[in-house]
Symmetry: C2
Subunit: 233 residues, 2 copies
């Protein structure tokens, strides 16, 4: 029995859990660098040894590059798989929100379960029904079917300079209650904000909205509000 040539093996479908690990690594390495075992463990709510074990398997299948004691990064193949999951997730969130009346806060959990069960075909039908949206309901960019994603330089409201005007681009949180609160405050993607004050020592930021009203946002929430400079700044 000679060893088979193993190049174009039809790679078995990824399990639910593998898909989740890849997504975590993608998010944790989006600023460059390595994803650490403990960060992944925290994000997925599993114990660190579970991560070590999975990382070993994933590097054997070529989806990640593992540098022992340092962390992991996605290979091109792993990145492709992660982006596909992120596309599924964001298309689902968009579809549930705009076609089935789900609210901003609830879609995440639903999409999290569905993204492992939908076929490519269903996602493309949904994308089509929505008119190929480029952003999900939280303002996050949706990767294309070909696996490209827009990379924007965003800065959180907590770090925006006083006096500057920014546009809220993306609300990076999956916590329903916080999202609902932010929505009530009118803090949704697309809103223009002028930073008019910030208390020292990680204190709250005060910003003026387009309609002249102001909002005082504590640091924890302000960190979730990702902004780009307003046009002409």
């Amino acid at each position: 029995m000679s060893a088979a040539i193993r190049s174009p093996q039809p790679s078995p479908p990824l399990t639910r859990s593998v898909e989740d690990y890849l997504k975590s690594v993608f998010h944790l390495t989006s600023q460059g660098g390595f994803a650490t075992t403990s960060d992944i463990a925290e994000m997925l709510e599993v114990a660190p040894p579970s991560v070590s074990g999975m990382m070993k398997r994933l590097s054997e299948t070529g989806l990640i590059e593992h540098v022992p004691y340092r962390g992991v990064q996605l290979t091109p193949q792993g990145r492709r798989a992660a982006l596909q999951m992120i596309r599924r997730h964001r298309i689902l969130e968009s579809y549930l929100t705009s076609k089935l009346g789900f609210d901003w806060g609830d879609v995440h959990v639903e999409a999290e379960r569905l993204e492992h069960a939908v076929s490519e075909k269903l996602i493309e039908r949904m994308a089509d029904a929505l008119g190929e949206p480029r952003y999900d309901p939280h303002g996050a960019p949706i990767p294309t079917a070909a696996g490209e994603i827009e990379e924007a330089e965003l800065v959180s409201l907590a770090a925006a300079e006083v006096g500057h005007t920014v546009v809220l681009q993306e609300v990076s949180d999956e916590h329903p209650a916080r999202l609902r609160y932010l929505a009530e405050q009118g803090l949704r993607p697309g809103v223009q904000l002028t930073v008019i004050d910030r208390q020292p020592f990680n204190g709250p930021t005060t910003a003026r909205l387009g309609d002249g009203t102001t909002r005082v946002v504590g640091q924890e929430l302000a960190l979730l509000l990702l902004c780009r400079p307003a046009d002409g700044e």
Copy 2:
């Protein structure tokens, strides 16, 4: 340590595989009687010992009644769970067909995966968007959210008497190619058929459609065409 009272335990969510077993048992006992180990094994494409093992666990959790060496039946609780899955499945099939352009043959596989991942809320939103449909695209009745299902006395075309007129009510098959073929032949739920001939020895049935054209249907396919007597028969 005294034994805890075990009445209103918050019953853990059913696993994917448990849901599949319950559905099988439901379908296999729809004519009354017991579902046998080997029938379940065949339907789910697992080995018989896997079924024995699962039946043991399911009867411990009170979802089925197991009579050793005879078979199983659903308890009221198991029936409720099975009907919920069937509702999910059929609503999904209806939604995918009518809102996302899936075709008759393909929906089954997609729904089979999704039914384990959708929330109750999503199913009800879909049902609502469809106007609370009572039948799925194959003509099968959809259980209500309360868990009631229409039970009709149907007879397959292969067993309908020569000379009688029937209405095709439901096409009971999940095989895409067969469904596509039947659809091409115009054999969809709602069509009226008059049986004009049947060859002996399990031979084909010949039936006339409403438009006067005839179809010759081999026994294997005719068994899949479930009919009710036409009004006024």
